[in-house]
Amino acid sequence: MSTPAIEILGLTKDFPVGFWRQRMRRSLDNLTFQVEEGEVFGFLGPNGAGKTTTMKLLMGLIFPTSGTARVRGRSIDDVQMHREIGYLPEQPYFYDYLTARELLDYYARFSNYSAAERRERVTKFLERVGLTAAGDVQLRKFSKGMLQRAGIAQAILHDPAVVILDEPMSGLDPVGRREVRDIILELKKQGRTVFFSTHILSDAEMLCDRVAVLAGGKLQGVGAPGEIVSIKAHAMEILFEPRDGRPLPAGLAKDAARIGGRYRVEVPEDGLYGALEQLHGCEARILSVSSVRPTLEDYFFRLVGGTVVTRGLEEISR
């Protein structure tokens, strides 16, 4: 059996709170799961679930209260483990007096590349994240999306076997999100393991082989996205424009909401064809039909039976 790319074994993290820091708040509770080699693994959860805490623990930025983790068989305490890992922090911020090219060159120095190799890599990865034209611009002039791209470039610059991305789509426009998705898929094609956190269900559905769901610092489940989170549409949305002077069909008139000269109505999935026939009958123009998917918030709400998961953080006395 091959060594897992990431192995998390009972990770627990308590943070001191209060003025005297005598009370402890548990933000991660006995987390255990594995990410296999070559997988794209999504780490799902609402804000405050413990996703960033887990990633910081893996990167050695904070230290576990108990438990441990290994990356490709190496303990997270082993600094050499970092040669095999690339990391994008949440909302990354970099030395703003450097240009993107200088920043990447700086990080490349820690991977023992020669000056020529560094130049070549920096140029290649600037192009990969669409920052070629901005390569010589100081980072203080970068937008949030551009900083995110620079962050992704520094994370994959040294061809790491495992890439850990904390909310990689955050702050990106649709084009940027698409580019990041392409990068993740390309990394997968190259056989690399990608472990990324998100609270956007469609990202997980589109990219992940498996996902882990975290809420209130506790693992709720691990598996294929469809197994863990029901992504089935729970309604269909129809946008239509009635023909001049014609009344709305009686079956839809009650639920239809007017938006300008158009109407929007949500119908159950099995009632879609009936609704469309009614609209056809009154010669309405169908503008769009789309599925209404549950949001991750809906999922979590159902998961915990209506209690607010972020309040599930356990407070313990020292």
Binding site: H82, G86, Y87, R109, S111
Partner: protein, 259 residues
């Protein structure tokens, strides 16, 4: 080690340069030369003494201000701005990061001091038209000033690992001032003949770095020479103290959770 410490040091130096800290020194050098012209015109017979005193004091004060104010933010800023997160994801140990930051600021201060020393040399040359043999001891005084910078930077870095810039500034400044008057503090303790006060002043004397021994400005300004043994003593003392401070900083910082 140099593959990890070196880039951090160079980046720290680059930050200082791009913050335009170094440009102030060109201004300082020009001011030194200007002051020399003025002093040369108003003082008779003691122009050199005034210029050396003024120049070395300015080098010392200006450098100390930089060492403290940049030093206290060395680690704190990296944590606050979260620039440290991406860096520590690379194969670099926390102590290597600290040594790199320290070396970078020291390099900045050394470059600054070189520029200022050139300004002082130009001023001296303007007044005297030539250098004297005793001027070599000015270089020793500048070396002592650099050793002071090394100590103060290590203090500021140490405090920067666990406290805010304001508190770090107060702690560093407090220890520096105590260290400048270390000999006097011990004398006061002995003078009072109170065992409690004596114990406190003696502890302070041995605990804080003794900056008094690094001040050779007055001796050099009066054309005096500096004993070679003092150079070795001060060097050894500074290296030992800096090493201890960096070890303490590493111990504190290596176990710290980054928020």
């Amino acid at each position: 080690m140099s593959a990890t410490v070196g880039p951090v040091a160079i980046n720290t130096f680059r930050e200082a340069v791009r913050d335009r800290v170094l440009y102030n020194l060109v201004l300082f050098a020009l001011m030194m030369i200007g002051a020399a012209i003025l002093v040369g015109q108003i003082s008779i017979g003691i122009e050199r003494l005034v210029i050396i005193n003024l120049g070395l004091s300015a080098i010392s004060i200006f450098g100390l201000v930089m060492a403290i104010f940049i030093g206290v933010g060395l680690v704190y800023k990296e944590i606050e701005k979260r620039t440290l997160y991406s860096l520590l994801a690379k194969p670099i140990r926390r102590w290597q990061f600290l040594v790199g930051k320290y070396a970078g600021l020291l390099l900045t201060l050394a470059v600054n001091t070189t520029f200022m020393a050139l300004g002082l040399a130009a001023a001296l040359l303007y007044v005297s038209k030539h250098f004297e043999r005793s001027d070599a001891s000015i270089l020793v005084a500048i070396y002592f000033i650099l050793l002071q910078f090394a100590l103060v930077t290590a203090l500021a870095l140490f405090f920067s690992c666990f406290s805010s810039p304001l508190l770090s500034t107060l702690f560093t400044l407090g220890i520096y001032i105590t260290g400048v008057f270390a000999d006097d503090i011990r004398s006061v303790g002995a003078f009072t003949q109170n065992s409690a006060i004596l114990a406190i002043t003696r502890t302070l004397y041995y605990l804080v770095p003794n900056f008094h021994n690094f001040n050779a400005i007055a001796a050099v300004a009066h054309g005096g020479s500096i004993a070679f043994s003092l150079v070795w003593q001060n060097t050894f003392y500074a290296v030992l103290y800096v090493t201890l401070l960096l070890l303490a900083a590493s111990a504190v910082f290596s176990g710290r959770n980054l928020k």
